[in-house]
């Protein structure tokens, strides 16, 4: 094998992609289709609540094309971080969709499911034996937070995926995985340079975001060769440039050329990015180290409170001028009115768009818009209390008689009726920690299925 072609349909499974681009990709006879389905980008809610970030309908639409394409070419299909956060619920949700498609389209795959869930007891043991290492700026886990944490996952490397491929799986649904793992596993199994495989995986995992114009909603293909790889966009309106591909190498990473992953440290300091044709880029010189100690990153989230919010506009210039005092006074009045509720049981938070809504305390600009958008949110230990506090803060601000007020009928332009929106639970990440493991596969059990005949298969290569 002198070249492996990896087809990446889109940046997140369910984001969608033009079927013409995907068809162009299939015509290039890819050796594997890989797609990333998850991320921590959208915050802790997905993991904590066990829900996705895209609709079932969107995932099904993407998977119908991907499964049919992979089936026709008889090539492996690898899905990483299934369902958005890659926990049991997310994987099961993805499997239900896949089973529907397999039944409807009469496809047959040997399907592997790789679980990434970590038992709470396991984490507790790590915590008690001082073998749980927080990532930078992450507070150490408390016993109390661990107790309430749901859906703990670990980011798998390529090793469990490679085992599934070796056992003859054609469709691999992986729970939480290091983003490049789904892309790097197949070429590493086939003996290609892991440094190039991981680097290419890092670039492909966002779909066509490494092209210009960049997007996560279009297809991209990587050609991995002995000592370099080529990145090629599959939509003629997009081109890969050295600046866009090199730029994507450092996307959403803390360091531009040292990338840590499960069992690897990529060093891209000596990389060369060359324009290969007018629309493709050649990359070489990626290097890799395999640290003696293999580490896995754990993620976990906990429900911390409930939220209710209201969205309103403010246009009166005197109100705008006095907004800081008014914000404070509204909180005082609510606290005075509900003097029987301890003030540490709830919080009123304002987001003032047109002033510092995006950057908060880090906003250096003093400029204020002629109109402000205000989000008043109440955070409390129960939904009922959040509703109560939000309602009180909203009505207080609506009618608050500030100094010099002329618009005496009301201070807020509500966007909706009813004005208050019950948000539901709020989560936070409690686990973003590393652990040391002896075996890269020990935390990631694999099951095999024939989803057409709806039966579990034994773990063998037949």
């Amino acid at each position: 094998m002198i070249e492996i072609k990896i087809l990446s349909p889109c940046g997140i499974l369910g984001y969608g992609f033009p079927k013409e681009s995907f068809q162009r990709g299939l015509e290039k006879k890819p050796d594997v289709i890989a797609v990333d389905a998850g991320s921590t980008d959208a915050g802790p809610h997905k993991l904590g609540a066990g829900v996705g970030i895209v609709s079932k309908r969107a995932v099904k639409k993407d998977l119908e094309l991907i499964l049919a394409g992979g089936f026709d070419l008889k090539i492996p299909i690898i899905i990483g971080s299934a369902g958005g956060a890659g926990a049991k619920k997310h994987v099961e949700w993805t499997m239900e969709i896949i089973e529907e498609i397999i039944q409807e389209k009469k496809l047959f795959f040997k399907t592997a499911v790789i679980h990434a869930d970590i038992e709470k007891e396991y984490v507790r043991n790590r915590l008690e034996t001082n073998n749980l290492f927080p990532m930078k700026f992450v507070p150490q886990l408390t016993e109390n937070d661990l107790e309430k944490t749901n859906n703990i996952v670990g980011q798998m490397g390529v090793e469990p995926i490679i085992e599934a491929l070796e056992n003859g799986a054609q469709l691999i649904v992986a729970g939480r995985a290091y983003d490049p793992s789904a892309f790097a596993a197949y070429p590493i199994l086939k003996g290609f340079d892991p440094a190039l495989a991981y680097h290419l995986g890092k670039i492909l995992e966002c779909g066509a975001l490494c092209a210009e114009p960049g997007t996560t909603k279009d297809c991209i293909i990587g050609h991995l060769r002995k000592d370099h790889f080529i990145v090629e966009a599959l939509n003629p309106i997009r081109k890969c440039y050295t600046t866009s591909v090199a730029g994507h190498t450092l996307y959403e990473k803390d360091h531009p050329y040292i990338l840590h992953g499960p069992g690897i440290k990529l060093d891209l300091s000596e990389c060369k990015f060359e324009q290969y044709s007018d629309s493709t880029v050649k990359v070489s010189g990626s290097e890799i180290e395999f640290p003696k100690q293999y580490t896995i990153k754990l993620e976990g989230a906990v429900k911390v409170a409930y939220r209710t919010l209201v969205i309103a506009g403010i246009r009166d210039p005197i109100m705008i001028e006095n907004i800081e005092d008014i914000k404070e006074e509204v909180i005082n009045q609510v606290q005075n009115y509900f003097d029987e509720i301890p003030t540490d049981e709830y919080q009123i938070i304002y987001h003032v768009y047109g002033k510092n809504g995006v950057m908060g305390i880090r906003e250096p600009s003093k400029q204020i818009s002629h109109e402000l958008g205000i989000v008043i949110e109440a955070i409390a230990s129960t939904q009922e209390l959040a509703n109560t506090i939000c309602s009180a803060a909203r009505s207080t601000m609506l009618h608050y008689g500030y100094e010099g007020r002329k618009s005496t009928a009301g201070n807020l332009a509500f966007l909706y009726s009813p004005s208050d929106i019950e948000f539901g639970p709020v989560y936070k990440f409690t686990l973003y920690h590393l652990i040391n493991v002896d075996d890269p596969k020990e935390l990631f059990p694999i099951e095999y299925f024939d989803l057409f005949n709806k039966e579990e298969l034994k773990n063998d290569s037949n």
Partner: protein
């Protein structure tokens, strides 16, 4: 008088994004080598400047790193509040680059 240009006009890309839920990373990427050099050699992009623009302490900066192969500068810092937690205002961290826009670079 020294002629200056804004960092925004010299850079091809100026963006911010989470690097994990607890860190924010800013990328300044150039498509013209002379622009990359003039910014790099100006010595203006320093911890002190970033601390001032973001109103943070130097301990909150993970690093300012220049990456020649991509003609890029990366600045990584602590998030004021971790992504999606109570009080966070930018879950993806995608709009936190603005304080860098008006940095003036002598050209």
């Amino acid at each position: 008088m020294i002629q200056t240009k804004s960092l925004y006009s010299l850079a091809k890309v100026l963006r911010s994004k989470n690097s994990g839920p607890f860190e924010l990373t800013i990328d300044i990427i150039f498509d013209k080598e002379e622009n990359y050099r003039v910014v790099k050699n100006s010595g203006i992009i320093t911890n002190e400047l970033i601390c001032k623009l973001y109103n943070i302490s130097v301990e909150e900066i993970s690093g300012i790193i220049f990456y020649e192969p991509a003609m890029a500068i990366k600045i990584t810092m602590k998030r004021p509040i971790d992504s999606g937690s109570i009080g966070d205002t930018d879950v993806y961290g995608a709009q936190q680059h603005a304080p860098l826009i008006e940095i003036q670079i002598p050209v």
